[in-house]
Symmetry: C2
Subunit: 225 residues, 2 copies
């Protein structure tokens, strides 16, 4: 059994907090609607945990009524940091769940094949993540707009979500993060702490995160493809 | 006076060599036509050097007849590696040219403002490059599909073109590359050799390189914007 944990508890600071970016309409549905629907339709996903801000839950409940959903879902409240929200989401998964697929609510363009491939890799090896090779040259800046070093990009990948784990692996990794009191920008970083290797699964299609309203045109284009 | 050097001498190995990717049609014009037209229309650009493969020059000549060009241009033949093509292009710039803007022919979506900003920065500080902050988490792979290390992305940028230089700066940098017999993936790397700092100019819009036919839909979308 696979539980999808959709992280939708961001504060949207970058969009001024006025409109939650997840509820911006694109291709006839809010961003988060596309994300949710994609996981709901995936044949390997058995249930969905949606991590939301407490003050936004009513909007999500309303949304759920308007989506053609088939899988059981529940809401859980997020924490201060993304890792707190993820931890809350994982705890809410049903006990029989062996695989946890964590996904950013703001990545509505993820495709079924990438979800499948990340789940299969996590089943076999414990942890996986959707990723893309970095194709342009990479430079380290001095923090003031000047290049200080060329970075060899040969083995560099950018990672997105889903980030998929065996339930015991991510449980142990998140516990290590909490015990050590550190901050991680993504869930695979937590695996480093416990010596768990993570398989890179090349995304079949662009899988950007909506961070500003200007991203919507591109996302709309991708959803049409 | 600014010379734009458009590098259009790639071998297109990744597209099977059958159709030169630069001549794929998008929004009613070959990819390279959009690139050329954009530099031709830029108010600060005085002349254009197009670096081509010898066996493709006739196709470029034919293209030029069909474009609404206003600036003088000339063709020069490329070399074995990109850096050889760039060097040939720089040598072909007119002697009065103080600024050289090097651009990949396969980046047709570059906008006028980014070109202006890179030229202004190079005039002031000697060297600049169009760039984007890396927004997703970055991982180092072991070369066999597994993550071995998280890379702090705080100061990482991916760089595109234009890469713009004072003529004497890029001349000296390319000479250093040749003298040391090294290989550089982009022209700003050559500046490292001579201690010339390079200003990162954030691209106003997406500025991808067409490397496979599957990139065309996205490029078409961007050109429409």
């Amino acid at each position: 059994m696979v539980t999808a944990v959709i992280v939708a508890a961001g504060s949207s600071k970058r969009m001024g907090g006025e409109v939650d970016k997840l509820f911006l309409e694109v291709q006839g549905m809010p961003v988060i609607g596309h994300t949710w629907k994609t996981f709901d339709e995936h044949q390997l996903v058995g249930e969905i945990v949606v991590v939301v801000r407490e003050d936004a839950q009513a909007a999500f409940e309303q949304l759920a009524l308007n989506l053609p959903l088939h899988k059981p879902y529940r809401f859980i409240h997020g924490g201060d940091e993304r890792q707190d929200s993820v931890r809350n989401g994982i705890r809410a998964a049903c006990e029989e769940s062996q695989i946890i697929a964590i996904h950013d609510g703001a990545r509505p363009c993820v495709d079924q094949e990438t979800i499948t491939n990340t789940i299969r890799a996590a089943e076999e090896e414990g942890a996986s993540v959707a990723a893309s090779k970095i194709v342009d040259s990479v430079k380290l800046s001095d923090g003031h707009g000047r290049i200080i070093q060329n970075i060899d990009r040969t083995h560099l990948w950018s990672v997105q979500t889903p980030q998929v784990f065996k339930a015991d692996v991510i449980g142990e990794a998140m516990k290590a993060v909490a015990d050590e009191g550190i901050f991680v920008t993504d869930d695979t970083s937590a695996c480093e702490l416990i010596g768990q290797s993570v398989v890179l699964i090349e995304s079949k299609n662009s899988n950007p995160k909506v961070t500003t309203e200007s991203d919507l045109a591109f996302v709309s284009f991708l959803l049409q493809q």
